[in-house]
Amino acid sequence: MSNSILESDAAASTGAGTPAATTVMSMQQALNRALDEVLAEHPKTLIFGEDCGRLGGVFRITDGLQAKHGAQRVFDTPLAESGILGMSVGLAMAGFHPIPEVQFDGFAYPAINQIVCQIARMNYRSRGTVPMPITLRVPSFGGIRAPEHHGESLEALFAHVPGLKVVSPSNPHEAYHLLKYAATRPDPVIFMEPKSRYWQKGEVDLARGDAAGGSPEGAKVMREGRHLTLVAWGAMVSRCLQVAELAAEDGIEIEVLDLRWLKPIDAGALAASVRKTRRAVVVHEAPLTSGLGAEVAQLITQSCFDILRAPVERVTGFDVPYPSGDLEDEYIPNIDRILFGIQRVLEYKRG
């Protein structure tokens, strides 16, 4: 992460004789380390799913964890997503803190019944007496030229379900801290890992979850700007940072807001950013219609209507099934499409 605030915070938190907490690692390593630490710090935590034991997961996120923490705490299940999630409910009832994995986003569909009808409702159904401290890790979104059902963006679906919380990290630092935070919450969290970013390296300040000392459930300004706010999450954050870099060459100062939490959405941070820039574009990979961009746009409209210079724009995937690898560059918002979106907002004229 090219974030000077982070670097200075890291320096400030490093006392004399203490080794620097900031280290460079990939998102895969950051997630692996977070899980390792959660297992070590919280004895009731369990990690399970398809192939996450001996193999370490198809993305190696759970690499080495079974060998280190034992096959009782990190284990392979039969190949059945509903089974994995339904079993999580019972384990949570028995006092465990499950961190199940579905191998790919599209494989969450067979488990939707357990996620929506059971996990999301058990706390409510039981009047708060049976919490569901389940963190469901879902390798999410596209960009790796994968087969069908391996590139879905399910955030709007999950965020729409009462009783679920949804979060997506955008870089290794966020991945480490958000997972450590999510995995110790008493409520169900859908943790959407942008699989196209697994191998991206970045600085991780192991000591500081939030550079500005803000809420672990808040959004985060990743780049300051004054002309327009790009709102994104997951893999789209780094693409928006690239766009901001390019726009800066033309003198356009773009603020990039990493939403991080897709439920609850940090409406305050959204408002603060857009009240500063007065223009906003939401970028997401998911299809346009009824996507989370609509929710973000409404939150902005509600808080910033009086000062908005243009309607909030959306640059998103299309209302088509996620395409094959050959077409995914056309589907996922690319730099050009985001720049066009920005242009539409900047050149908007009231009728």
Binding site: S82, G83, G86, G90, M93, P98, D187, G268
Partner: protein, 345 residues
């Protein structure tokens, strides 16, 4: 069908004592009376709906009787009132779900050892497997008892649960009440292969197909299954053959899919009357005992009815407060709007 090895029943208690038999009868009468009363309450407008279990008293009381509430846990559907009553769950709190006071009921599931009622059949069968696996991980000896019907046995979750439980040797007793009907669809149009019990073989799991209208047979089978699971041998499936007399729910009209003659033929002898005859024949109970049991059931029913009639609506704030352990700003804001607009606070 009985594929459970006799050796596995070593941990099961011996034959039921006379006191236990009388207690079982009292429980069955209490359940029967409460069940028929609940239908009346619905007709009287006291509760909006109810899922009767008329005819399944032996299956429910008998299986619930085998549960040790100090260590076991039960995962019901929405038709296990008899199990709940047998386990000693607070019946006003239980019935509150049918009063439309709170989905899942007002009882505390962890203290009652009964998971919340829920309507997605087979949904909780997997929960039982997870809970049971937790017992293995914690080196405890609790057994999960999960209920489902012949209709639910068509759901994929049942198959995933059986496979998971068998692979992990989880201490689960799958208790199928085959009551002949999945609302309007008879078992032969619901269950391929002739029985649910037959499926257990495919998972390498022992199964017992029993007369679910014989309460003593149900207690003994469930105790055997519990002993098997408790001693680390993995899951067991019990298919209790019974018959749902009357409607699926108070909204159902069974006359559209079967005649009263068919119902009489299919149902066989009333399990309560059958047990009564047996107790009489064996000299274990007499008419005055039966009269006393009925009087107690009536008194209990009256107490429960008074209790649920006294239940007011839940405060609206609970709708917002109980979604999460840690609420969200959006939910707080919606709650504030609701208070302002509905309570004019």
């Amino acid at each position: 069908m009985d594929t459970l090895l006799p050796a596995a029943s070593g941990g099961a208690a011996g034959p039921l004592t006379a006191d236990e038999l009388r207690e079982l009868y009292s429980l069955m009468v209490a359940v029967r009376h409460l069940d028929t009363s609940a239908i009346a309450w619905q007709r009287q407008g006291i509760i909006p709906g109810y899922a009767p279990e008329f005819g399944q008293e032996a299956a429910q009381v008998g299986s619930g009787y085998a549960v040790d509430t100090t260590r076991d846990f039960v995962f019901p559907t929405y038709r296990e009132m008899g199990v709940a009553r047998t386990m000693g769950v607070d019946m006003v709190a239980y019935m509150s779900t049918h009063k439309a006071t709170w989905h899942g009921g007002l009882y505390n599931p962890l203290e009652s050892r009964l998971a919340p009622i829920q309507a997605v059949v087979a949904g909780s069968v997997l929960h039982a497997v997870g809970w049971a696996h937790g017992q293995t991980l914690d080196k405890k000896d609790g057994v999960a008892l999960t209920y489902f019907g012949d209709g639910a046995s068509s759901q994929g979750d049942v198959h995933e649960a059986m496979n998971f439980a068998a692979v992990m040797k989880a201490p689960v007793v799958f208790f199928v009440q085959n009551n002949g009907w999945a609302i309007s669809v008879p078992t032969e149009r619901q269950v391929a292969g002739g029985s649910v019990a037959a499926r257990a073989a495919g998972y390498g799991m022992p199964a017992l197909q029993i007369d679910g209208d014989d309460v003593v047979a149900v207690v003994e089978a469930t105790r055997r299954a519990f002993a098997h699971a408790r001693t680390g041998n993995g899951p067991v499936l019990i298919e209790a053959m019974t018959y749902r007399r009357g409607p699926h729910s108070t909204s159902d009209d069974p006359g559209r899919y079967r005649s009263l003659d068919e119902e009489r033929d299919g149902a066989g002898i009333d399990p309560l009357e059958r047990f009564r005859q047996r107790l009489l024949a064996e000299g274990i109970a007499d008419e005055s005992f039966f009269a006393g049991a009925l009087a107690a059931a009536k008194a209990e029913e009256e107490q429960i009815r008074t209790g649920i009639q006294a239940l007011g609506p839940r405060p609206g704030t609970e709708m917002f407060d109980l979604v999460f352990q840690e609420t969200t700003p959006a939910l707080q804001s919606q709650a504030a709007n609701w208070r302002e607009e509905s309570e004019h606070v």
